[in-house]
Symmetry: C2
Subunit: 430 residues, 2 copies
């Protein structure tokens, strides 16, 4: 019976372990192997004169990163990892690794991100890389837990769709039998339909697809989005939910993944404090004007440089609110007293945008008018507009980028570090 | 402040509610409205001589399924739902529904499935339809919980891929910038790569896409799959995990969704008993031979009719094991003493297959040989095969259809009843 390496102690007497050969050192009369599994590393000490022929042959044949099964007595020893060593009675080579390895797993040799992504199966063997994906898993669990406990219904919306969410051209076309179809760029329209369906509070964690020709450290063509929509709620209410979700998720990760945080070397991990500041867009632009060299004015999108300048000023997570209606999607609700701005918001990490949301326009006539104002044809949105004619409550929601959440939480330099098999203009394999 | 309808009691004195107009009845001097939200229904009683002009005008203008906000004193009354009624001081029509409705929400008029799916936003307002999706949400949560607590890491694998999982032609092609790409038909190859990556226990809940030209009650072209893969495990171990997961999920639904189960009218809801029988494929064929008219022999796929005949004999959930290697994918591990059968299994509900799995072939040379035996070209699978040359543990796993799980759990006649916006050869909207 195989024991997880972290659980092997001298008290266990004899143990059987299985894992990857992290290192082999041959000192003549004595050889050492470090064996690694998901839980840790153990030293296997081989006094050549005292072990069997089978063990000697295995030690000679094995290569780094091969998978082996080893059994034998465990002894306390000060200098070894975990304060114990295993003296093998048997070593079975389960899967022999070819040499040379396409990537050095021991982290002694730094590798380019592209090389690492090409050999992701080796890259993730590094404890600090595995730690990122363990934290990502924990964060997703925390999000499910938070939304479930808050009374949300998890929904699954289609990824193959007939129309674009925002009428944009940045869609991947699919040959769907004899029909034209696309990969969905957002569950936006579907989660709004669920408001018309009376579901009141829904969420989805799933893939979104954008055919944008980006080549940045924070955009991918396939991403994971966390989306919520809430009936009888305004933008302020869903901002509160978002803030609490972020705090809960950081808290859960801090509580359950301290070893992984240490492994990655995140020095300044801190659960954000409640009360994210709410910065009106107009003020954000003023801060940006002072902080960046390139020209920026009211009505412009907030450029990456502007995001960083404003982020530096704000210090932690914050909201940008009261956006010009002109630069937000047609479905954002405009303020009654000033339709030039709308009830939309972005939730920002000092480094970049994490989430976009708004109270939505639920009044059919105004929605049609806003679609037209954006130069889009309401007829293309009939499947979406129809529910607005048969009783739909006021509602609000947001989408939160899961990959960026992990990236900013752990201070990763590239969103690709937070995604197992990233997809961009140049990368489709593995 | 809006109160959920189920929480409104005479003790609350006055209440404000918001929801959909389920019914309006005008009896001359007296009118009644039933207002419905996600939590329940309340009667609003309008003694015409005692209410304001504003209320009278609203009652006159409102139509069924409009969204309204109503406030006023609550009184105990025997005959009304929940034993209370609200006498309105104000009624605000938030969203007026057009008449006639494309679908009758009160469930008095039965509707065809196609009509219901066309107007899904109205269909899901029916409490018995909403109940299906609330149970689906609960089941997904239970699955996340079970796998998280069992030490699994949640992973996200790409849906846009360059190669087919099983070399089949049943793939949707995508125009991916200047490259040829496809929608992934299964996370199979990626979760196996995660075994080479040292993750040991992984799971994913996500969409899968199959361009099969089916027109049945249990196939969709976009489905939700629950996938696990476990290192150092054989097929028997992952069968135990699957059985326990099913029992946990039914148990969670029974515990948390009794009202929904009653609403749907599931009469025979029962948590499956541990110890799902394990029926060798050869014996399953013998049972089918006796139970169906069409000819069937060893080596054939198990047809829907055969599934039903065997299911009737077995009575509850069961496994079919020891499949002929010839009719299973190349990645199933063959038995050492009889390579004509393999360590693959299907987990069956009496009505249909729910899950397929196997111990996988982890030995590179044998895997290449099995790929060739299926008439496939190993070179097309280089991205998948590469990890097998650099140390991969033995591993096993399965995929479980989430839609079918919900369908069979609730006795739904069509898998489309378990999916909000199903995708098939003929349906791409809404």
């Amino acid at each position: 019976m195989r024991t997880p390496i972290a659980q092997v102690t001298p008290a266990s007497g004899s143990a059987e372990i299985a894992g990857w050969v992290h290192e082999v050192r041959d000192l003549g009369g004595l050889a050492f192997m470090l064996i690694r599994d998901r839980t840790g590393i153990i030293q296997v000490t081989i006094p050549k004169k005292k072990v069997s022929e089978q063990v000697l042959a295995a030690v000679k044949a094995v290569s780094r990163e091969s998978v082996v099964r080893v059994s034998g007595p465990v002894k306390a020893i000060d200098k070894a990892p975990g304060g114990r060593e295993l003296v093998p009675e048997s070593i079975e080579i389960i899967s022999l690794a070819e040499t040379p390895l396409p990537l050095d797993v021991s982290e002694k040799v730094p590798a380019e991100l592209d090389t690492r992504l090409d050999a992701r199966f080796l890259d993730v063997r590094r404890p600090r890389v595995a730690a990122v994906f363990e934290i990502r898993s924990a964060a997703c669990y925390a999000i499910n837990q938070f939304l479930h406990d808050a009374g949300f219904t998890a929904i699954t919306t289609p990824k193959i769709v007939a129309a674009a969410t925002e009428g944009g051209t940045e869609l991947f076309p699919i040959a769907y039998f004899d029909k034209e179809a696309f990969l969905n760029q957002s569950p936006q329209l579907y989660k709004q339909m669920m408001m018309a369906a009376g579901c009141e509070k829904v969420y989805e964690i799933g893939p979104i697809f954008r055919a944008e020709e980006h080549a940045t450290t924070k955009h991918l063509n396939e991403a994971t989005s966390i989306d919520i929509e809430v009936s009888f709620a305004d933008h302020l209410e869903v901002m509160r939910i978002l803030e609490n979700l972020i705090i809960h998720t950081y808290g859960y990760v801090e509580k359950t993944c301290s070893a992984q945080i240490a492994n990655i070397g995140v020095e300044d991990f801190a659960v954000p404090k409640a009360g994210f500041p709410r910065l009106p867009y107009a003020e954000a632009i003023e801060i940006a004007k002072k902080g960046i060299e390139e020209p920026i004015k009211y009505g412009d999108d907030i450029s990456p440089a502007a995001e960083r300048a404003i982020g530096a000023e704000m210090g932690g997570h914050y909201f940008i609110v009261d956006w010009p209606s002109e630069i937000r999607p047609y479905y954002a609700m405009q303020y009654e007293n000033d339709p030039s701005i709308c009830k939309a918001f972005d939730m920002m990490h000092p480094r970049m945008e994490l989430s976009s949301g708004a109270q939505r326009e639920h009044r059919y006539d105004r929605l049609v008018q806003q679609i037209k104002q954006k130069g889009l044809n309401p007829e293309s949105f009939e499947f979406y507009l129809k529910p607005f004619r048969y009783g739909i409550p006021p509602h609000a929601g947001w989408g939160l980028g899961a990959d960026r959440l992990v990236m900013t939480m752990l201070g990763l330099s590239n969103v690709r570090e937070a995604v197992l098999f990233p997809r961009d203009m140049h990368r489709l394999v593995p």
